[in-house]
């Protein structure tokens, strides 16, 4: 049989590239970048590599699902463990982007908070969506979502996430929707219109952010007066000398997950990593590095009291809190995102 020289050459090149990738490290761990990934590296990645005697490489993921889809479709999966957003985990699990987990290998489901146990995901940490302002610039700042919208009393740009998720919720809360009705209202066309109408009030002042680090940088530079943000980043900035006020009233909390990309070449090691990262002794160290909540019930008691105070799940922070409804978003994301982008472009 004669072989085509070009295809031989191409496959040789492909093998070379693949071999290099494969030899680079034993496992690829993918976080969300920035200070969060710094914390994950210190608490999970490095201790795991040390214990298992392996090397690892890192990447970060900001929701470009096309990349994962392409990897899985072309059967050239270079990511093993990935930190996932809840709604995205549900959708990806349906479509086979992430592997169904073998729970006995991970841990005892009873040890976790109920929402942490999912077919394709293990709860990694709990975040909270809040807003913040710089106390060096604003002394008596906004106290709730209604105040966030008050441009007269607190003039200046508003940092908001360029995503329908959480932004529409914030608008409805600012418009006086009760916590318990939030997703009922958002499920109706009138509710969606109402949210956009509310957003219209401050649209001229909005500065959009996409990565978690951006709102913090802009708040520090004074480019926004008030900004929505994930709580952990705000606390970290304060530990680094900033004086940002974090407003817990009306916080929306949810969780991110560890998942394994379908067709991961290091599935066993990936499972071992997730099992390692889910142990109470390991999880309990995360809040000291970044102020997110943890999902292993046994770990919660081990968190030092000072770090526990800044967690979204601390009782005083949960006083007026709303759980993020990932199932709602898994169903409605495409529709609301299309409307959100159309509104944003107007």
């Amino acid at each position: 049989m004669r072989t085509n020289p070009i295809s031989t050459l191409l496959s040789a090149a492909a093998i070379l590239v693949a071999a290099q990738v494969a030899h680079a490290s034993d496992i690829t761990l993918v976080g969300a970048g920035g200070v969060l990934q710094d914390a994950e590296r210190a608490v999970f990645f490095e201790p795991f590599a040390k214990q298992a005697g392996i090397s690892f490489s890192e990447d970060s993921y900001a929701g470009e699902q096309a990349k994962i889809r392409a990897m899985v479709l072309s059967k050239n999966v270079t990511w093993d463990v990935i930190q996932l957003d809840h709604a995205e985990m549900i959708v990806g699990c349906d479509e086979g982007l992430y592997q169904k987990l073998d729970w006995p290998k991970i841990g005892n489901p009873e040890d976790f908070l109920p929402q942490a146990v999912q077919p394709c995901g293990v709860g990694a940490f709990a975040w909270s969506f809040v807003f913040a302002y710089d106390q060096d610039r604003i002394v008596d700042g906004p106290k709730n979502w209604v105040d966030f919208w008050d441009l007269k009393k607190w003039p200046g740009k508003r940092g908001m996430r360029a995503s329908a998720r959480l932004t529409l919720e914030a608008a409805l809360l600012a418009d006086g929707v009760k916590n318990e009705d939030l997703y009922k209202v958002l499920a109706t066309d009138e509710g969606v219109t109402r949210a956009f109408k509310k957003l219209d009030e401050i649209k001229s002042q909005i500065v959009w952010w996409t990565t978690g680090a951006e709102p913090i940088e802009r708040l520090a530079a004074g480019d926004v007066a008030v900004t929505t943000a994930f709580n952990g980043r705000v606390t970290t900035a304060n530990q680094n000398g900033r004086h940002f006020a974090l407003v817990w009233d009306g916080q929306m909390y949810g969780q991110d997950y560890w998942g394994i990309v379908s067709g991961s070449p290091h599935k066993d090691l990936a499972e071992k990593f997730i099992a390692f990262a889910s142990q109470p002794e390991i999880q309990s160290k995360l809040p000291e590095k970044i102020a997110y909540g943890i999902m292993n019930k046994k770990a919660i008691a081990m968190v030092p009291p000072k770090a526990a105070e800044a967690m979204p799940t601390a009782p005083q922070n949960l006083k007026n809190a709303i759980p993020f409804d990932a199932a709602f978003w898994a169903e409605n994301d495409a529709d609301l995102t299309a409307k959100f982008e159309a509104w944003r472009a107007r």
């Binding site: 479709l73 349906d94 996409t210 530079a221 169903e331 495409a334 159309a342 509104w343 472009a345």
Partner: protein, 391 residues
């Protein structure tokens, strides 16, 4: 004689065909392709072809869908089909997966109209079936229609999409408007610079050229981020102006249209200056001397003699700047204001985030056609060969 140059170019040609033209053609074909649903739902696609499209389809179509969903084992392909349907009717994706899950869990072999409507009442709504009908046609106009904020309704008429979903027409207009403004600003700033480079002594001219080209050597992202530092409230410009006492309150120079113009002009200036300069350098100073000797005031000489001679450079510069400008998306997203996104943002958005390649391809085709049209028109006006410097 002719074989040698072709052979010399062969590697490049092969490279271009394999890595540029072929992928481009494949990508563009997504704009009319409609294969997601037929691949996963073969029985349904066959059955639904016999339906007249009015009211609800016959029972055989229901059973075909149930059979396809029940026997599906490729969840990724099903995901693509479901997403294609979601593009027709919001919420369809979840409906498909819910129905497939229920059908697969159910051991009973009878599955038809009753079972589907019991799983979800939406299956009794003709809307979902006409969407299926549209999504199983061999080619689809849906993405091109959507690129112009149009859609095909359940009766097959072309109508405008709901007001809260209209986005692309405005975005195209904005894209061209921003591109035009940036080009004009680049021309106003770039023309004198190009002139200065031409007439200044060699040493200064080299320094000036260098400072114009310098931004070329920095990555786009780094340049854009650097501008955020320079232009922000506490940034270099604002603190300088405040210290001089020119302003009391810091100016909003970024995260609005002003910031976008500043940054884009800076990035695109070399594309304006370099072509103009190369044309100016070829203009003999004798022309201006001749016009002066014939009694023309330097201003008159400039407008009557020099300016027309530089027009090919101006045309090339404007064309290049404009075409590159309308393809921008990272810069508007990073330094623009709330409503400053350009069309490329949506192409990237549909490619990477929502994975609707049909939509991305259709928008790409429209943008590409616009570019070709502009190129062709300008080419006619100015002589294409002069622009691509083939003369």
């Amino acid at each position: 004689m002719t074989i040698a140059p072709i052979l010399l170019c062969a590697p490049l040609l092969v490279f271009l065909i394999v890595f540029f033209f072929a992928p481009l053609a494949v990508m563009l074909s997504y704009s009319v392709r409609n294969s997601e649903v037929p691949i996963v739902l073969p029985n349904l696609s066959k059955a639904i072809a016999t339906w007249d499209g009015l009211g609800l389809p016959p029972a055989s179509v229901f059973s075909a869908l149930a059979l396809d969903l029940k026997s599906n084992s490729d969840s990724m392909a099903l995901g693509e089909a479901a997403r294609r349907l979601d593009f027709e009717v919001p919420g369809y994706r979840a409906l498909v997966f819910k129905t497939a899950r229920r059908l697969q869990a159910d051991q009973a072999s009878t599955s038809g109209r009753d079972e589907l409507t019991r799983i979800d009442a939406r299956w009794a709504n003709p809307r979902y079936w006409s969407a299926l009908n549209r999504a199983t046609a061999s080619l689809t106009p849906a993405f091109f229609l959507a690129a112009f904020d149009l859609k095909m309704d359940d009766l097959g008429h072309i109508t405008r999409v709901e007001e809260d979903r209209r986005v692309y027409l405005d975005t195209f207009l904005r894209t061209f408007q921003i591109g035009g403004t940036v080009t004009l600003l680049c021309l106003l700033l770039g023309y004198p610079i190009a002139f200065a480079i031409t007439v200044l002594p060699r040493r200064f001219a080299a320094a000036l050229t260098f400072s114009v080209i310098l931004p070329f050597w920095t990555s786009l992202l780094v340049r854009t981020s650097a501008w955020i530092v320079v232009l922000s409230k506490d940034g270099v410009v604002n603190s300088f102006l405040t210290r001089l006492g020119v302003i009391n309150e810091p100016l909003q120079l970024i995260f609005n249209r002003t910031g976008l113009y500043i940054v884009m002009v800076h990035i695109l200036l070399p594309f304006m200056v370099l072509p103009i300069r190369s044309v100016m350098q070829g203009i003999s100073p004798n022309y201006m001397k001749a016009s002066a000797s014939l009694g023309a005031h330097p201003f008159l000489g400039f407008f009557k003699v020099y300016l027309p001679l530089t027009l090919p450079g101006v045309g090339a510069g404007c064309l290049m700047t404009f075409i590159i400008a309308i393809g921008y998306y990272i810069t508007p997203a990073l330094v623009g204001g709330a409503g400053d996104n350009m069309i490329s943002f949506f192409i990237a958005f549909h490619t990477n985030s929502v994975i609707n390649w049909g939509m991305a391809a259709a928008l790409g085709v429209v943008l590409l056609s616009a570019v070709l049209l502009i190129f062709g028109t300008f080419g006619r006006l100015l002589g294409l060969s002069r622009i691509v410097a083939l003369k």
